[in-house]
């Protein structure tokens, strides 16, 4: 009966123990020692307990708490055999390790015990017998245990000699406990401790945040207070896991029971940790803090967060370190504070790091005390409790507020940190802390190195072999051993001027160049790419014959790309660093270089556009230009990018900014360009300007009161020719036909046909004729290559009608025709155009040529395509101002097709004003009206609602500007002596406007002519009125501005339209 035996065992064991104790006393051990060994015994008992419980849990439960001592003797006996049974170790590492661990712990004890055992052989044998029996009898032993014993058993059966046992035991214990321990701490041994299903489980329990430790300790306290009724085994609070603790117990109920009544623990939900994750819970990396002087650290919190600091002193007891920082102190604020003046509570910004200047501080009447530090004997300047030395702030902070892991100071930071007084030697010393971050394989055979520390300092040599820590070098100087082993931390790579190197780490990573100067550990390299000097650590480079441009691309952006930085700044990437770009900004006056991060770049600008140079020659990308003004005057090179009238010119002789020069288009000339066009083509800018301040008097020839059409015709012709030249190279948009919508550059103009190189399709198309719509904006000239039909119509009108109207009407004409065909599309166009025209007289001139083209085209078109005819008749109609009949009579007969407009037109002719509003298009401002204009030069027809359109009223002179203005829009009125804001109330038939001054329309009412009026450009979110295009007259909201386009939400339809900003006017708020 096992139990019985156990008890007997127990008794015997106690006997041994007593004897052992006596023996110990005989050995004259101190009572303290004895107590300790007692304790150890206790521990051993506990272990036994555990074993027993693990193995016979149920038994334990049944046997009650008193069974603690019961299994001990058996265990003790078995331990001896465990020692012998080395074989078992491999098979059952876990059991063995547990046991041997115990054995180790009690090493001395067992040693003594074994002697004793040998002395009383008989007894011990009896014990062994006992155990053998017991072991064999225990039915519910686990397999491991049984296996354990079997070999022992058999050995015993073989009557193993007790002396042999003694020898073995002695041999075992002769070894130091340390070595044994080492054996045990191998990973394999630890593996033996992996949890099994028999082990208690870990449960995850929620607790109050920040109270994890407290919760674990409270559980401990509770267990002590309550005693054995608490069934949990342990509680774990991890530093890195907030809000949870782990509790080790066999059953969830035990956990809940233990947590009951503890207010920091919320045990409603208890989660079981899967067995294979249990070890993860307990494996924490011991944070190896080895802070020592000269270690680089970073601040974790406060104003200095992220700043590099150097440790100058470590107080391990108080857990504080003294670090050296570059101060971020706002002296003015400090002065205010010290003088007790009111200090703004919230810190508006963190002052930039700057060395403390004591004199500056004194100037602000800040008290600076110079004191000697008791400990170090150094002098510090004490300012308001802060200590400064050599401009650095010396700050003592908690170790927790600095981070010490993976600190890699950048080159710049270290450079900054080098105080003026410090010489290079100290630098190298502190640099050595950097070497800790070296990667494996830092030194390679053949590298030239220099010793920077120790007796061999400054010895140069070559790497022969690299061990773990040591580098074997072949010294340069003769008379030394062939190779020397030097700790790699005492070595630094060495280069000489003339070496060609490649940077392998740091911000300049990837760059190559030639070493031009060596300053201690810093190399100055002439970069292959930028031809600039770069400073790098010698440690960061390797010798290399490779010539690279370094990295030239981050994300989508590549070196020499034109990028948009924000809505009004852009530039060319002139250098790509590891994390940032250097961008030469598009500021013409002086070179401005900005360092931008990837995320600061909005987009790449790939749009090809053309501008005009000083002589109004078209400049496009790749054209060679010469700079006439500014600091780069005289330089020349191909244009790489054009944006908003700014040219980026690449001059390979220009050594700065990667050869890029930024210049205004207007301060350059195209090399080889002619001046012939001078004055003809207003370039985008001048046009733009014109928009702002419209010259009052239109100068264009067309303005001439309509003379006989033929005359005009001729005039136009002349203009047209001039125009052709100008048109070449212009960017046009095709308005009709298969290539409708495509943009391209005009290659050739021949009569009415142009050859256009399409941007998108990479092909050249020939249009039979064209109509040019000029755009005043920087998006450059857009001319539309139109299928023959439409333009002609217009042209005739122009020709026939008075020239003056043409300007205004030019656009309208288009629409006029267009509406019939496709009402939607074109009108917008003309809308855009009209305003410009109106506003800017000058632009006018350049614009006229297109007209000429049309005219050129007209006759032809007439002849060729019947469609034109509908157009032509109107012109006649003009001459013989019975439009209706004119229409009707026109030979083309087409006019019937274009029936609607005609109706209107005829109606219009007859009773002009009323009709206009009702024009078929439904758009009051429909081109139709405009087209009529030629006849009724007022142009006002377009402004519907004005009602009093007098077709005949010869408002011609001024009307060109006016017609597009509409009531209710906010305008600026320029009058002699004053400019004021007003609201257009009414458009008078004579082309002048009734304007009520005051932004809300409550001031004086004046009448003013168009040239005195300028619309107030709307801003984002303003209510606007559309003054041109199909939507003319509609109101909306400007929801965004994209360059020259405004994004408008139309009130009525809620459509979102993209319209030219020029046709948008700010609506007066009622």
């Amino acid at each position: 009966m096992p139990r019985r035996r156990d008890e007997e065992e127990d008794m015997e064991d106690d006997d041994y123990e007593d004897q052992y104790d006596e023996e110990e006393e005989e050995d004259d051990r101190s009572s303290r020692k004895r107590r300790r060994s007692d304790f150890i015994d206790d521990a051993a008992e506990e272990d036994d307990d555990e074993e027993e419980d693990d193995d016979e849990d149920e038994d334990y439960g049944g046997g009650g708490g008193g069974g603690g001592k019961r299994p001990k003797p058996k265990k003790r006996g078995s331990q001896f055999f465990d020692l012998e049974a080395q074989v078992c170790m491999l098979l059952f590492p876990r059991k063995v390790s547990q046991n041997s661990e115990k054995t180790n712990f009690d090493g001395s004890h067992f040693l003594a015990f074994s002697y004793f055992l040998v002395l009383v052989k008989k007894v011990s044998l009896a014990v062994i017998d006992f155990i053998v029996d017991g072991g064999a009898d225990i039915p519910d032993d686990d397999d491991g245990r049984r296996m354990h014993r079997r070999p022992l058993l058999s050995r015993e059966d073989e009557q193993e000699d007790v002396e042999a046992l003694e020898r073995r035991i002695q041999a075992r214990y002769a070894r130091s406990s340390h070595t044994e321990y080492d054996e045990e701490t191998t990973d394999v041994e630890q593996q033996a401790l992996l949890p099994s299903v028999r082990d208690p489980k870990l449960w995850m329990v929620k607790c109050a945040i920040g109270r994890e430790r407290e919760a674990a300790v409270c559980l401990m306290q509770k267990c002590i207070d309550r005693g054995p009724e608490m069934q949990i085994r342990s509680a774990v609070a991890l530093d890195h896991l907030k809000n949870y603790i782990y509790v080790e117990a066999d059953k969830e109920a035990h956990v809940k029971e233990a947590c009951k009544g503890l207010r920091n623990i919320y045990s409603q939900k208890v989660m079981l940790v899967p067995i294979r994750e249990m070890t993860d819970v307990l494996s924490v990396e011991s944070k190896a803090i080895d802070l020592s002087r000269d270690t680089w650290v970073r601040m974790k919190i406060g104003n200095y967060k992220g700043d590099l600091a150097k440790v100058v002193d470590v107080d391990n007891v108080r857990q504080r370190v003294t670090v050296k920082l570059i101060p971020r102190i706002d002296l003015q604020a400090l002065a205010n504070k010290l003088e007790g003046r009111e200090v703004a509570k919230k810190k508006p910004f963190v002052p930039p790091p700057r060395f403390m200047n004591v004199d500056e501080a004194r100037e602000l009447h800040i008290r600076v005390e110079r004191r000697r530090d008791q400990m170090t004997g150094d002098y510090f300047e004490n300012i308001g409790g802060m200590l400064f030395k050599d401009g650095f702030l010396y700050k003592t902070v908690s170790m927790k507020s600095i981070s010490t892991q993976n600190i890699k100071p950048t080159f710049d930071e270290l450079e900054k940190f080098r105080s003026p007084g410090e010489n290079g030697e100290n630098d190298i010393a502190s640099l050595s802390t950097l070497f800790a971050n070296r990667k494996k394989g830092h030194f390679m055979k053949g590298d030239a190195v220099i010793v920077i520390k120790g007796d061999l300092k400054n010895l140069k040599g070559w790497v022969e072999k690299v061990d773990e820590e040591n580098v074997h070098i072949r010294p340069e100087i003769k008379g030394l051993p062939k190779t020397l082993a030097v700790n790699q931390k005492e070595l630094c790579k060495y280069f000489e001027p003339g070496n060609h190197v490649k940077v392998v780490s740091g911000t300049q990573e990837g760059a190559t160049g030639m070493v031009v100067k060596v300053e201690q550990h810093v190399l100055i390299i002439l970069s292959d790419t930028t031809k600039e000097h770069i400073r790098v650590f010698a440690d960061d480079v390797v010798e290399s014959s490779e010539v690279t441009t370094g990295i030239t691309k981050i994300g989508d952006y590549e070196l020499h790309d034109l990028v948009l930085l924000d809505s009004n700044s852009f530039g060319v990437i002139i250098r790509v660093e590891s994390e940032a770009f250097q961008v030469l900004k598009g500021v013409p006056d002086r070179p401005e270089v900005a360092l931008v991060k990837l995320r600061e770049i909005k987009c790449k600008l790939e749009k090809k556009s053309n501008v005009q140079d000083k002589n109004k020659n078209t400049v496009s990308v790749k054209d060679v230009v010469r700079i006439l003004e500014g600091s780069c005057k005289g330089k020349q090179g191909p244009v790489e990018h054009i944006f908003r009238g700014i040219l980026f010119i690449y001059d390979r002789h220009h050594l700065e900014h990667a050869g890029f020069i930024c210049a205004k288009a207007t301060s350059c000339v195209v090399v080889g360009g002619s001046r012939a066009n001078g004055g003809r083509n207003g370039d985008a800018y001048s046009r733009f300007d014109n928009l702002r301040t419209p010259p009052r008097i239109p100068q264009s020839p067309r303005r001439f009161p309509r003379g006989g059409p033929p005359v005009d015709y001729g005039g136009r012709h002349r203009g047209g020719r001039g125009r052709h030249d100008a048109l070449i190279g212009a960017t046009v948009k095709i308005r009709q036909g298969p290539d409708k919508g495509c943009k391209g550059r005009v290659l050739e103009v021949k009569g009415q046909s142009v050859r256009v190189e399409l941007e998108a399709r990479m092909k050249v198309v020939t249009g039979k004729s064209l109509v040019i719509w000029e755009n005043f904006f920087d998006r450059s000239i857009i001319s539309d290559n139109v299928e023959v039909s439409t333009p002609y119509r217009d042209a005739p009108r122009y020709g026939m009608g008075s020239e003056t109207p043409m300007h205004p009407s030019r656009t309208p004409l288009h629409p006029y025709m267009t509406p019939m065909r496709d009402a939607g599309a074109t009108p917008i166009h003309d809308g855009m155009r009209t305003p410009m025209r109106d506003r800017a007289w000058n632009p006018y001139t350049p614009m006229s040529p297109p007209r000429d083209n049309w005219e050129d085209g007209n006759p032809a078109s007439w002849g060729t395509s019947p469609q034109y005819q509908p157009g032509s008749p109107p012109s006649r109609a003009y001459e013989a101002p019975t439009p209706g009949s004119g229409w009707a009579n026109t030979p083309g007969g087409n006019y019937s097709e274009a029936g609607t407009p005609r109706d209107s037109s005829s109606g219009y002719a007859n009773a002009p004003s009323p009709y206009l509003p009702s024009t078929p298009g439904g758009q009051p401002m429909t081109p139709n009206s405009a087209s009529y204009l030629p006849g009724t030069p007022g142009g006002q027809p377009m402004t519907p609602g004005t009602g009093g359109l007098d077709v005949m009223s010869p408002a011609i002179g001024s009307d060109n500007e006016g017609p597009w203005l509409m009531p209710d829009i906010l305008v600026k009125v320029h009058r002699p002596g004053e400019d004021s804001v007003g609201v257009i109330r009414e458009v008078l038939p004579d082309g002048s406007y009734k304007v009520i001054l005051g932004s809300s329309g409550n001031g004086e009412t004046i009448t003013s002519v168009a040239n005195e009026i300028e619309i107030v450009p709307p801003r984002k979110n303003d209510k606007i009125k559309i003054m041109g295009g199909a939507q003319r007259g509609a109101t909306g909201k400007l929801i965004g501005v994209d360059g020259t386009d405004g994004i408008v939400k139309v009130d009525d339809t809620l459509d979102v339209k993209i319209l030219d900003m020029v046709i948008l006017a700010k609506l007066a708020q009622p």
Partner: protein, 115 residues
Amino acid sequence: MGSAPAQIPTSFGHELRACLRCRLVKTYDQFRESGCENCTFFKMDEDNERVVDCTTPNFNGIISVMDPTRSWAARWLRISRFVPGCYTLAVSEALPEDLQNLCEDERVQYVPPKR
């Protein structure tokens, strides 16, 4: 709970220190007054300077071991033979050499923390 438990920390903040040998966690004052229950031979209670040498505030995580012998966690952490009490999962410093020698003299194991 077989043996008498160690003192339980009276606070949970910066005052806590862990014995570098057995990883028992107590407050500085507790160590000073009654030493370490597992490592009495350090005699921290007799020589208060020892407390600083033998203990560290740099430790990671706390485990309260109620029942060291039957706790898997305690076994895994190799603290199952120590008295019940609050221990830490890991300390980051090694015992000073002279104290390591003391351990050797006392025939107790000392395991330096793994790096």
